[in-house]
């Protein structure tokens, strides 16, 4: 993907509309009263008490339950499907497969789904083979067991590193390369290496990581005449709507997608699933609502992953710490379909540090494994894993503090966008310096060196910088705010709240501008039937995209309110302000007017403001920046690693809500620790290609005991007045981008052994320690 495509991965395949310019100029907030405070989630009670209705909770009258039969082989042809026994089982209302005679439903597919609903050529374990709908989920699953499928099992390719071997099985007829190589070059890399005092070269690898959201993928579909409503666990209702409409040949106006509450996505819920289309088809055939909720195992097999990456870096540096050249060649696999394997895998190599001579090359390969999907900062945590470990190795080679080396190479302009535009803001240097200072980086390093290596219990500290290709947000977005005559407010917006606290932040913005309590703002959102278009919540851009639109709508309501009030109060509108839910004129500050006392408002009943997201500044780059610091304790005899501390210093612009910001940062660190320490997909590659750890026990999502004992969050706000009208940038993805690399560098600092392959678990660390001993 090109850079602009990286920033837009969350609308892949979606026609994005244009919205109008915001109505008027908005000045940056000189100070804020609500925004930036630690405000608990406005829907916290609903989420915690269980009254929030997630798609998996929905129960409709007469609702049926669907389930999918999935191919148990990494690669097989389906030669026959016998559903006769399943069809006759109690409660079964319908069965579909590729062999359902003359059923147009079985051919339903779309460019969004990419393959047929039931493709008899199954290129990965977990591909859909048949589906059942029944009165209960138990009957549906029982019926799946009664479907007899004949498979012609074929050879498989599990490891992309073997994709080009002469005898490698060809996943697709046109070969194992997915897409052509993505090449990028600036300057003269060879000249850069010639100029360097030290040149190092190393290979790194990260493993496949699963999204593992708390709520598995699923939906409920229900028809009313020719209109369809789908409740989907999704990051973006407007991504689901066109996929369903296209698959079923329906007008968009008749497909309503609702996504109020959802239990996490991390990028795996940006698209409709085959289950979505099947639920709609079954609902139509049976004239009943149909729910399909996938099992954890199904989500691990079929709903995406962070692809593995193989990265070779050659880097040149001068003794004073100036980077002279970076050469970066990486491969990855997006599984059996899709070209997403190497997505954004080189962005940080190209952008994170100043370097005049850079060459990158990316190549994706097909494998017989579940397709990848964007996952929290696609490509970036893999890229930091390699780049930031290399920077540490360079720092050691020239005997320089790793912080100083990074500070020496801080970019102030985009090195990849034509014309090298400056960033609207960059707090990268402050992330490193203030983070190091709060972490007591230099003191800790000295303490560790003074302790020596006598004990087999060793400590180490590590740092990683980072940035994120997207995170600036942008149009389109349209928000509508309605102020009632009693002073209560409704905010209507298309965006989803995927658990990050979007609703809360938007309520805070309304509260900031209209002087109401955030908890008194009722929010209608994420519903194609009642809201305006919003792009999906992905790319760490929901807050910087939606906040300016919501602020604009609030300002428009305030403008109308003040106009009416000024007339009644016989003052100039410019003298009015809002204080404690009342209107006050600077000409008569002792006579505040309640909203309800404004006759003009009472007569109108409501005031409605529409806000649009304005364009981003021309000729500027908008990116969040970060640095994370980690301290570990390693037992050199048993390979046990304890993560003592993680400190995260992030420049994501203005902190909109101190509480949800911290939660995002800590959640991102936990997910990064997962990539670096505990998680990986294990395929039985040599024998069957089947996934071996397809459940929460074997897969190794970290527990609270596995993440850091102490977290610290150090927000760096450079006071960005150019990025957008609220001055914020995204935090969700940046929070996980440097984590695994900082951890790896800390382990190196403790052990003196460089573990280049993630995760650094017992197996990999003890093997690396043993190899280094043999090397001695």
């Amino acid at each position: 993907m090109k850079n602009e495509e990286v920033a837009r991965y969350y609308t892949e395949g979606i026609d994005v509309p244009e919205t109008a310019d915001p109505a008027f100029d908005q000045e940056p907030w000189p100070s804020t009263r609500v925004v930036g405070q630690p405000v608990p989630k406005v829907d916290g009670y609903e989420r915690v008490s269980g009254t929030a209705v997630y798609p998996a909770d929905i129960v409709l009258p007469g609702m049926l339950h669907g389930a999918l039969l999935r191919c148990p082989h990494a690669h097989a042809m389906v030669t026959a499907v016998d559903v006769s026994e399943a069809e006759g089982m109690p409660g079964v209302r319908g069965v579909l497969s590729a062999f359902t005679p003359d059923d147009p439903a079985t051919r339903a597919h779309s460019e969004y789904i990419r393959t047929q609903l039931f493709d008899s050529h199954c290129r990965f374990e977990g591909e859909a083979v048949a589906a059942v709908v029944a009165d209960t989920p138990y009957q549906a699953r029982d019926a799946l067991r009664a479907i007899r499928v004949e498979y012609d099992v074929r050879p498989h390719l599990s490891d992309e590193r073997q994709a080009l071997e002469p005898n490698a099985h060809q996943v697709h007829d046109d070969g194992n390369q997915s897409g052509s190589p993505q090449q990028y070059e600036r300057g003269d890399v060879e000249a850069g290496f010639a100029e360097a005092d030290v040149v190092l070269e190393e290979e790194y690898r990260t493993e496949t990581q699963m999204h593992a959201p708390m709520e598995p993928h699923g939906c409920v579909a229900s028809w009313d005449g020719d209109s369809l409503t789908v409740w989907e666990s999704t990051q973006g209702v407007y991504n689901i709507q066109p996929a369903v409409a296209a698959a079923l040949g329906m007008p968009l106006s008749r497909v309503r997608v609702v996504g109020h509450y959802m239990g996490g996505g991390f990028g795996s819920k940006l698209q409709a699933g085959k289950y979505t289309i099947l639920a709609a088809l079954f609902a139509k055939k049976t004239a009943r609502p149909v729910k399909i909720t996938l099992s954890r195992e199904e989500t691990f097999l079929a709903t995406g992953n962070r692809p593995p990456a193989n990265m070779r870096i050659k880097a040149g540096i001068k003794r004073d710490g100036t980077l002279t050249a970076l050469e970066y060649v990486a491969t990855a696999t997006g599984g059996a379909y899709g070209n997403g394997g190497p997505s954004a895998l080189a962005w940080l190599t190209q952008n994170c540090y100043t370097c005049p001579n850079v060459r990158t090359e990316l190549q994706g390969f097909y494998t017989n494994a579940g397709p990848s999907r964007p996952m929290r900062g696609p490509g970036h945590p893999q890229n930091t894993w390699s780049l930031e470990q290399m920077l540490d190795a360079l720092a050691a080679a020239i005997d320089m503090d790793p912080i100083d080396l990074r500070l020496k190479n801080i970019p102030t302009v985009s090195q990849t966008i034509a014309g090298n535009p400056p960033y609207t803001s960059t707090g990268f240097a402050e992330c490193l310096t203030e983070g190091a200072s709060t972490f007591q980086w230099r003191e800790k390093r000295e303490e560790i060196r003074a302790a020596g290596t006598d004990s087999h219990i060793r400590r180490g500290v590590g740092v990683s910088g980072g940035s994120w290709a997207a995170g600036g947000g942008g149009p389109p977005s349209t928000s509508i705010i309605t102020l009632y005559s009693d002073g209560s407010v409704v905010l209507n917006m298309g965006a989803s709240d995927i658990g990050c606290g979007t609703k809360t932040v938007m309520a805070m913005i309304v509260a900031e501008e209209l002087g109401v309590d955030p908890n008194d703002v009722r929010i209608e959102h994420a519903d194609t039937g009642t809201t305006q278009f919003a792009s999906a919540s992905g790319g760490s851009k929901t807050i910087p995209t939606e906040s300016p639109a919501v602020r604009a709508a609030a300002l428009e309501v305030k403008r109308q309110l003040f106009e009416i009030a000024a007339e009644e109060m016989e003052v100039d509108a410019s003298t009015l302000s809002l204080q404690d839910g009342a209107i006050v004129s600077s000409e008569s500050p002792s006579e505040p007017r309640e909203f309800s006392s404004i006759t003009g408002l009472r007569r109108r009943r409501t005031l409605t403001g529409i806000g649009y997201r304005g364009p981003n500044p021309a000729d500027k780059a908008i990116n969040p920046w970060c640095a994370q610091f980690c301290e570990v304790e390693v037992n050199m005899k048993t390979g046990a690693i304890k993560i003592l501390r993680f400190l995260a210093a992030h420049d994501s612009g203005r902190v909109m809500n101190a509480l949800t910001y911290r939660n995002q940062v800590f959640g991102g660190i936990a997910m990064g620790i997962a990539l670096g320490k505990t998680e990986r997909r294990v395929l039985d590659g040599v024998q069957t290609g089947k996934m071996l750890n397809r459940n929460s026990l074997d897969y190794g999502v970290p527990t609270v005991l596995d993440v850091a004992d102490e977290f610290e969050c150090v927000p760096i706000d450079p006071g960005d007045t150019e990025a957008n009208t609220v001055g914020c940038k995204g935090i969700g993805e940046p929070a996980t981008i440097p984590t695994a690399a900082a951890f790896a560098n800390a382990v190196y600092d403790a052990t003196g052994v460089r573990v280049t392959g993630a995760p650094i678990n017992r197996v990999n660390l003890l093997n690396a320690l043993a190899a280094s001993e043999q090397g001695d």
């Binding site: 138990y138 005899k637 039985d684 040599v686 069957t688 089947k690 071996l692 197996v763 320690l769």
Partner: protein
Amino acid sequence: MLPKFAYVRASTVEEAAQNLAADGARVHAGGSDLLGCLRDGVFETPLIVSLSGISSLQGISRARNGGLSIGSMTKVAEVAADANVTEMYPGLAQAAGVVASPQLRNQGTIGGNLCQKPRCWYYRGEFNCRRKGGSTCYAMVGENEYHCIFGGALCYIVHPSDTAPMLTALGATLNIAGPRGTRSVSLEEFYVLPADDVMRENVLEQGEFVTEVMIPEPASGLRTSYRKERDRGAWDFALAGVALAIHFDGDRVADANVVLSGAAPVPWRSREAEQAIEGREITAAVAAEAADAAMANARPLGKNRYKVQLFKGLIEEELLAIGLS
């Protein structure tokens, strides 16, 4: 989601035994392992017999011989928290306390923990492996990071229990009931190596079940400990574990029981480690020597050689710690 089965909740040991005599009938204790096996299709069963209605199988009491009697339906969490266990055999409290997660310890029973099925991901997955009657052990050439380094042949599982190695080290005996009456088997003779019978993990015959765990009175000078190394801090099985029950005569080891978990298809008694410390004070050198001796005959597979180093470090640290305790 679960295959069909009939369900009986027995109210006496005899009633349970009679019902369990039916071919393929399975015991339901806490259910945390049974339901997982059924859901994952590891096996099917026509009849599940619950022991939850048999009150005599519950609880921990002092035995007449001065030891402790633990009813097989006692929750793992109760064993971990029991005052007598903590005082008499702290290693057993430690072992019970590191089983799985708090939720599973509250649900799982000591009998179930001793009789649980292996966690090998081929056995649990859609693979017709040797232990399920097939002709292949997929772990032999496949992903065997978590498999055994001792006692493997035909099948390379590790025994998943944390309490079994500790109870083996303590010389515990199991009381067993079945359709043909009751019997007692020492824990050391309870488990079956795959070379002897690849399709069973223990000596229980159809219809038999554990009713009671009998632990002998701790002799004076007994020190016990259990430590488990795992990839996650909770809810994970042992990569390596070591149970120690050592009788000290002053500073010297009079008699040692060293039993490893995560090492073999059964709780693995390391006579090599025991011999290396018996009659000696556990100095740093002795501990390291014993750890080396324990691993001298290890036979790692393609991907679990790291376990040798891990066990060495673990055994060395634990022997030193118990010597100083």
